[in-house]
Amino acid sequence: MKLKYLIPIILVILFGYLLRTMLVCTNYNGNFHYSSVVDYFHLRQLIANEGSTSIILVRIFHNKLTVFLFDIFGRYFQFFDISYLIKILSLAGLFGLLNFYYLLLSQKIKNKFIDLFGVLILMFPLIEIFQITKENFLIKMILLIIPYQIASFIGTVSLIKRNKKLSYLIYFVLLILSVGWIFVFKNDALSFCTTG
């Protein structure tokens, strides 16, 4: 079978396998969720560290809004942490996702729906951060994992479409590496979620 067809098939099987391993998850772990209590204590800690600094400066720099924004920023970026992305997409899938965004940024994909999809999936992590849905993990997978896998798939297919033998080969090696990694090293534990 030609690599052109083999690569997407292996990738889909790989994504399916990764999703299956995630079925044991019941929720994302606490680091992904916003907590006003954590923010409150964090703010108190910051103020306590100030010592003799003038109260005006303390008020300007250490307030609920700043702590809230910084906290959300930090939690949001955990959804784009490399080790997290490798766990939900595999290494090959991550390169597919990077290619997807490369294509969007360089305007090599001129499809408004794909553009919209690319922007929308960047918003989805907010659903989990604020725990808008407390449904079972299957729904979270549909919202927070599968869309990224789709984007990665689009990125991969576009890479293959370029018809360059070298990129086929490199991507194929990456894919073999990812498959080997998952089956030989068992893909570590799913540290981003709680189980049981």
Binding site: G51, F73, I82, F185, K186, D188
Partner: protein, 551 residues
Amino acid sequence: MIPYPKLLLLFWMFRFIRQNRYIPILIVVILAFILRVYSVSKLPPGLYDDEVAIGYNAYSILTKGTDEYGTPFPLTFRSFDDYKLPGYIYLDTIPIALFGKNAFAVRLPSVISGTLTVLFLYLFLENLLSLEFEPSKKKFRNLPLLSAFILAILPWHIQFSRAAYESVVAVCFFMIGCWQFVVYYKNKKIPYLLISLFFFTLASYTYHSFRILTPIAFLSIFYLLFIKKFIKVKNLFLIALYVLILNLPLLIFTFGSHGTSRFLQTSTFTKQALPESIQQIIPTSTQKIPTAAVPQPQFSIQALLAYPFVYLQNFLSFFSLEELFVRGNDNVRFYSSSEFGFLFRWQLPFLIVGLMVLLREKSKILKKMVLSMFFITPAAVAIAASPNALHALLLVIPFSIIIALGINDTGQNSFRWVKLIFIGIIILGIYETGLYFHLYLSDYRNSYTVFWGGAQEKLVKEVTKYSKYYPTIVVNETYLSNEKIYFLFYNDKLRPIFVDSSWQEPKSWNGKPFLYVRYPLAIPANSGMKLLENITLDIPSKNTVAQIIEL
């Protein structure tokens, strides 16, 4: 209302700055210098062991012509068996001769190089852009200045420029090399090429990661010279010979046992550095080398699979948004506040826009130069445990340029809503930058003094005070690592005896009481120990870091 004469003065100043093209960059360089030099001897709070080792070796070279082990004018400094490269240490002899053996003198080369990097980035970009664009072309006119400004205020670069990190000096040398090469590319005058190659070489004599980055630069330069046929083949060989002669000592070191030992200490492929799940599966053997016995993974199918995977994971980790914008590295000396990463959060939108501009840009030279630095740097240093912000410090250059490209493009956008968003981000940016400097000046000292060896100077001073009464001083290095170098640096006349955890505390030394320095522990009754002093950190929490005891 501003009075009329003052308004006139402001107007005149503004016009003066606009008309003199070097005034803005001068202001940026002065800003960069102030941000790097302000209170540098006190902040970071204390000298950490590598800085002290650099300072003492520089002092030793200056006074005795040898390193701390007595080797005359060495090419590499054994130090803590990490074989430091000579660039920073020899450079540091100048400030130590001028200002003495203190924190300011140790850090000065880093401060100055960090400041000059800002200037060389400007000069490099000015020349690079002039290769492709007319100076009058508006599109990228402000890019060199904006990039220099971004680098001047970048937390990543400021943090490292304020401590004695060899990497900062190496980046500066590397930028001089890049700038001189672009000047050569423009003028085709051989001396510029020779200067460029010389500075690239200096970078590789200054910091270990440049032993990989510089050869890549050399290969790219020779490839370009060969393809573009700027130089006759015969002359090309002569230049290659020049490079070889300059680099020969370093090549001998690199492939010698000490070079290999350094590689094994930092490599991500040694057994300890590999992720735990892999460590258990890959069979290993211990390869004995003079200075380290590190378990090496044996060749196996598992290793064949794990090596490229770990390498690629390391490579990608340099672009982790969490590391870049939120958390920074695990090494607390690498970031300047627990609230900040290496870049400001406000820079993220500009980074994205900058990448868009760069990827769509038709200008080949700018695109190739910036993207190659952006990807080759992490690719070269990913063989070590990653992400390591110090190893990949050269990344500050492409990041500054890309963020500046984003600001430049957004600022020139004529849409009203884009302008509003732009102004909004800039206001947030001013606030966040202010918060960063506020935390650096207030919170950083309180939170991180202990990690910077903040009480070591005080410890040596106190021991010196007591040394008049006690002929023997014993220092137990358990939990107090590398104490020897601190004693050498702060008072090399004291000759303490250094012991480790296996040492049994005797009641006296040749029948006489002696001074005993150790990590703070409870003193048991009837142990014969008399606590003379607790060494505490000069921060509100007053943590005790060492005890001086009479035994």
